[in-house]
Symmetry: C2
């Protein structure tokens, strides 16, 4: 663990070489960001992600782990307030609305992702921003500006913490706490100094470990729930004058010193105000861990081009980056639907059998012998080209051997949902409607009423209740 007390030998020379004050620069940017300063294309894409997120959050309504967190919120929090728990159709204080909505956002594995940071911004930013906006009566434009600030901050913190961090830590939990603090802090009107306090209090709460993957435990939902709630806590405390460390990201006993070996402080402030990472963020198409998507798209291309039946496929090698092996490797025999979403053989099995790996296909996976047969037919192999391009680009490569010994090679350079292969607004609308229906909290008329409210968020004088 890379303790770097003053004067000690740094494990990471970049941290020692840092002479600026990157945490403060990030906080100042977030505090000052106005709706008017954000390019229209960035706002439009943020609205797309907001609609996409609302679908994901509503889809989590009926799921066990989310229900446990909702019952906890009901026991610990107030029974009324101005902030809305989407899946429970009730209101409470912002803390618990953010917590439950964030838990619900990430469970279907359909929420967005930024490739370079391997960070899922929507699942932590929108819950904190929505709960705070509803609490303070913020406008739709302020809500969107705060959400952009959260994306821009969280993604840069994720990039800063780097690949070594992601090998053990769930970046959406750690960087996500800072992202949520920035979004909530922007809506509370924190100035640059108070925003830096919020970042400091967020960073010192940041947590989330991948160990749960081996056991198919519920921790992923806890990570997003706590990132949103803890970040919101940091912002509200800063508004009360509660102070935080000024260099929680890059300092000698800060996040990178404790939780990264390859952190580069320059990434915290990379082209703030000119590079918009919102535009680099990807929609998820398949309902599984993003690390499965490049290979899934590459396999889908082969299956469709050669019209392969599942029985014709004897063996598939997914050529992947190391991060995929770290996250997916521990899942050897998926026992739950959620664990299946972290299994390359499960995901490729569904693609081979159904040419689709959506919510319905995963829900039926445990009793789908044709797809499960691929547990023995799929393996992952580290690929130097794919690994070198990662995380900036997520290349998909598969080698497929048929029963008669033919070998076919499949490749995609941008998986479906990436900025160069994105969803149309019609596709986003349809995806969100499917997810909302899946959650079962709203009937068709309710979804028809909801969708225009989501798409027109920028025009609302006060965000108010959505569902």
């Amino acid at each position: 663990m890379n303790a770097i007390p003053a004067g000690d030998t740094a494990v990471n020379p970049a941290l020692r070489a840092a002479t600026g004050h990157e945490s403060a620069d990030l906080a100042a940017f977030a505090a000052a960001l106005r709706y008017e300063d954000i390019p229209a294309a960035v706002i439009d894409r943020t609205v797309d992600f907001f609609v996409d997120w609302a679908g994901s959050a509503l889809s989590g309504g009926g799921q066990r782990a989310v229900g446990a967190i909702e019952r906890f919120a009901a026991a610990m929090g107030p029974q009324d307030g101005r902030s809305e728990i989407l899946t429970a159709r009730r209101t409470t204080s912002p803390l618990f609305a953010a917590m439950v909505n964030a838990a619900a956002s990430h469970i279907s594995e359909q929420d967005d992702v930024h490739n370079g940071s391997v960070f899922h911004p929507a699942a932590v930013v929108f819950p904190a921003a929505l709960a705070t906006a509803q609490h303070v009566g913020a406008s739709g434009r302020d809500f969107l500006a705060a959400s952009v600030a959260g994306y821009e901050a969280g993604i840069r913190v994720g990039e800063f913490l780097g690949r070594s961090h992601y090998r053990v830590f769930h970046t959406t939990g750690t960087a996500g706490t800072v992202a949520a603090a920035v979004a909530a802090g922007r809506l509370l009107g924190l100035d640059a100094k108070a925003m830096l306090d919020a970042v400091g209090s967020a960073g010192t709460q940041a947590a989330g470990l991948w160990e749960f993957l081996r056991d198919a435990a519920d921790s992923k939902q806890l990570h997003t729930a706590k990132a949103a709630a803890d970040g919101l806590t940091a912002a509200f405390l800063a508004a009360e004058g509660f102070t935080g460390a000024r260099r929680i990201l890059e300092g000698a006993q800060g996040m990178a010193a404790g939780m990264s070996r390859d952190a580069d402080p320059k990434k915290i402030v990379d082209r703030l105000g000119s590079r918009w990472t919102v535009l680099e963020t990807s929609f998820k198409f398949h309902a599984s861990c993003r690390h499965t998507h490049p290979a899934a798209d590459a396999l889908l291309g082969l299956v469709e081009a050669h019209d392969l039946s599942p029985e014709a496929i004897a063996h598939v090698v997914a050529h992947v980056h190391q991060g995929a092996i770290d996250v997916l490797g521990p899942v050897t025999d998926p026992k739950t639907v959620h664990q299946a979403k972290f299994s390359m053989p499960a995901t490729l099995g569904l693609i081979a059998v159904h040419r689709r790996a959506g919510m319905a296909e995963f829900d039926a996976y445990l009793s789908d012998p044709a797809a499960r047969a691929f547990l023995d037919r799929v393996e992952m192999a580290l690929d130097p080209e794919v690994d070198a391009a990662y995380p900036r680009r997520w290349i998909g490569k598969v080698s497929l051997r048929t029963g008669d010994g033919t070998v076919l090679e499949g490749r995609v350079d941008e998986p479906k949902g990436d900025p160069g292969n994105t969803l149309t607004r019609a596709e986003t609308d349809a995806k969100a409607r499917r997810l909302a229906a899946y959650g079962g909290m709203l009937d068709a008329a309710g979804i028809d009423a909801l969708m225009p409210r989501l798409w027109s968020i920028a025009d609302r004088n006060a965000v108010g209740r959505l569902v």
Copy 2:
């Protein structure tokens, strides 16, 4: 960052060599621990620490950082409930009672400490245990058994995470989350399996970085507040069936893999049921960071033995362990009372001038020129003997040079408050009364009424309200 994915080269061979299931053994011990199985001396000492803790918690009442957290709790939590916020004299849900009481417990730097783990158990265990006990109507005996379980678990987790962890992470925040989960989980009646879920959900939330020390920021209070609240959250979620990682402590992507280089899994289960770490825990005598105490006692011995006036002392070298340099080194010119408590020159200056470094002396420190003059007269030096004995023993050594060039050497082998140099019950009672009076929430009659309720906690059929 010591990522140890399956098959990778382990940075820490001890983690790879672990073949048992230490997290499960610890959880099983905590779930099964009964009051009747705990030696009377352990129970008695736990009562001592409970009384000592109540004084610390009440002392935090008037302090700014605690007030900010209490206002946050009032805004986010319910206005009634069965769990008591000691300093606010109101009740709420267990989550917020644990949060505020834990924030208040640690701010005066008078709460207990376990030397070997450098962990402050009272500040995180009692807030979680008391809030849960009041919520479920537990007896005093169950409250004490749960508290013992929390101490025994948290101390062992702190020892397990080791010195490399403590260099960057505030162990009371990280191990404290697990300790609080165990204490709350015991009161919720979790069985061994559910207790392991609670440990898993606690460990994946564990956080707290030392970076705030440089800025005298308020994070220390956030760390105890969140450890108690997050641990309690983990326990209540486990009671709802929410699952956690089964090897969150020792696993390949668990706490030690992410946050330690020298973790030894055997320490998690070291003599569970026969070694009682409660009996190894120290009271704090001076109102400052424990790392200042050995040198303070050594200097006090010299000052008293030679009846030295402050003016007679030209220079003092405190011969310390590396951990003292890591934690105290960043504070070069204390700007706040709380920061002064993390300054070796400030603490030794008060000892030289007042022969005492209590709450009152620190409160007056910033306008105490005689004590502040020692900022230039005190230095720390790494001492091989002291460092080798640490953290098992905290030896105090100082070299003092007088104005006429005489050099005096002072030494203590056990600072005041350590098990071999402990406080009597009368001293503990008097200390708790002083601290409660300092907080200003109770008048003398209120304190007189409170103290017998604290000392007789074991006899209460239901813990109920204390204040």
